[in-house]
Symmetry: C2
């Protein structure tokens, strides 16, 4: 029953060759997946301060100094090729989506790898908690909220959240499991009451695809590493390269390495 | 600003003298409050097994052997007089409410003191999480659910839950705070989706009074020590004496004594 989607080496080979350019939800379960933000060095300090001030959406797992493209948390990988799909933002506008960024690479680019909630899904599944988007094979729904991030330098914007429907009887367990891994977003930032955080329609996510919420479930929202992309739109930095939402970099870190309490 | 409701000795004096026969929510904050179940010795073993099998609704804080009326967790107190209001059930039917049970006392009666979620309210308030029923000065709403307890001997029935509206953004924190005190019911058993546990109308609690739920809040449900009273109605033991819901016995245990993780 083993699939190539469970084999991190084969996943990386296919991604690097652009044979696979899809989302990474449910793949290489247990490996820490990462959001990617790449910025010119002259904005790197301000962005790192932004991350420090907003640890729920932007928990930093790795920083690659200017010009470096081999992650410390995945030796042998190349951040210019090993993400399934990239987004290039110019002045806050999405310029294009590409499967590698070799043409964009410059010696002054700094890479930030930010924790992703896909990482704790292995633990939730192991606890018997279904993940609707994995069952359906769809891309997890992600919403921009009205929750302002703490600004830093030019960087400001609202928090983005991922949403998973959870049975009411399992919400407490889900909180406790995810609270233990704060570097991949940790405990939910909101449970139920989507309108209170500016989400008008759960069937119209800003990124990803909607999932049904059953009568015995509540929508549970986690801070999301797509937040920097909402920040790019709001703050309009000259250049920001990111992963495409749900198309993550897969690191060598394990979810078990990230348990903090 | 200190009120007699903060002074456990004065509270007990007034309760013992029947000068006060009201609810104890918000009183002597930080003291562990207790649900009370008193049964003849020939049913005590089965009931204790029932508690062991249902630790969420029935976490046992103290057992007083047959005929004893001085709690181990409140030396000097008298369980026959120091509860504001008692309920006497005969064959599962409520026979009467009284302010002391000296007339009912027998040498074969065994007393169980069971943790109460009032105990963790001090911690929630200290974290800046409002308790709607305390703000309104009403009796916390309590509902019988469709969640079956694990039976033991003659004892069977559904779990009873208390409900507190919590802001969506604070649900995770509330789970984490209450999870640390499992002997006063611990983490919630259900969040949102009341119909999924058989609650048809949040405005019609089975015990206590309804509270408004605001747009940014979700109803959060904790297992409740009124469960034995639902069990009495279902199982019809010849005699069961309990506290009246929300009219608790106040022990010398502190909430801080009960932190387990």
């Amino acid at each position: 029953m083993a699939s190539w989607k469970d084999d991190v080496h084969e996943i990386r080979r296919r991604i690097r060759s652009a044979e696979y350019a899809g989302q990474t939800g449910g793949m290489a379960l247990g490996h820490a997946q990462c959001n990617v933000v790449i910025l010119p060095k002259d904005q790197a300090f301000d962005f790192l301060v932004f991350c420090m001030r907003n640890p729920k959406p932007c928990p930093v797992l790795d920083v690659l100094e200017a010009g470096r493209y081999e992650p410390n948390i995945a030796p042998g990988c190349d951040i210019r090729t090993d993400v399934p799909k990239y987004r290039v933002y110019h002045n806050g506008a999405l310029l294009e989506e590409v499967t590698d960024i070799k043409n964009y690479w410059r010696d002054d680019l700094v890479t930030f790898l930010i924790g992703c909630s896909f990482t704790f899904e292995a633990r939730l599944l192991a606890a018997g908690i279904p993940m609707r988007h994995l069952e359906l094979g769809t891309v997890i729904p992600v919403f921009e909220t009205n929750i302002p991030c703490a600004p830093a330098g030019p960087f400001h914007g609202n928090m983005v959240v991922s949403m998973r429907p959870i049975q009411g009887r399992r919400v407490a367990e889900v909180v406790q499991i995810t609270a233990r891994v704060p570097r991949v977003h940790g405990a939910p930032v909101h449970v139920g009451a989507p309108a209170a955080i500016g989400i008008r329609d759960l069937n119209a996510p800003d990124w990803g695809q909607p999932v049904p919420i059953r009568d015995d479930e509540v929508p549970v929202f986690w801070a999301c590493g797509v937040t920097p992309q909402a920040v790019a739109r709001a703050s309009r930095p000259p250049l920001m390269i990111t992963h495409a939402p749900a198309h993550m970099f897969i690191s060598d870190l394990r979810d078990s390495d990230l348990i903090e309490n």
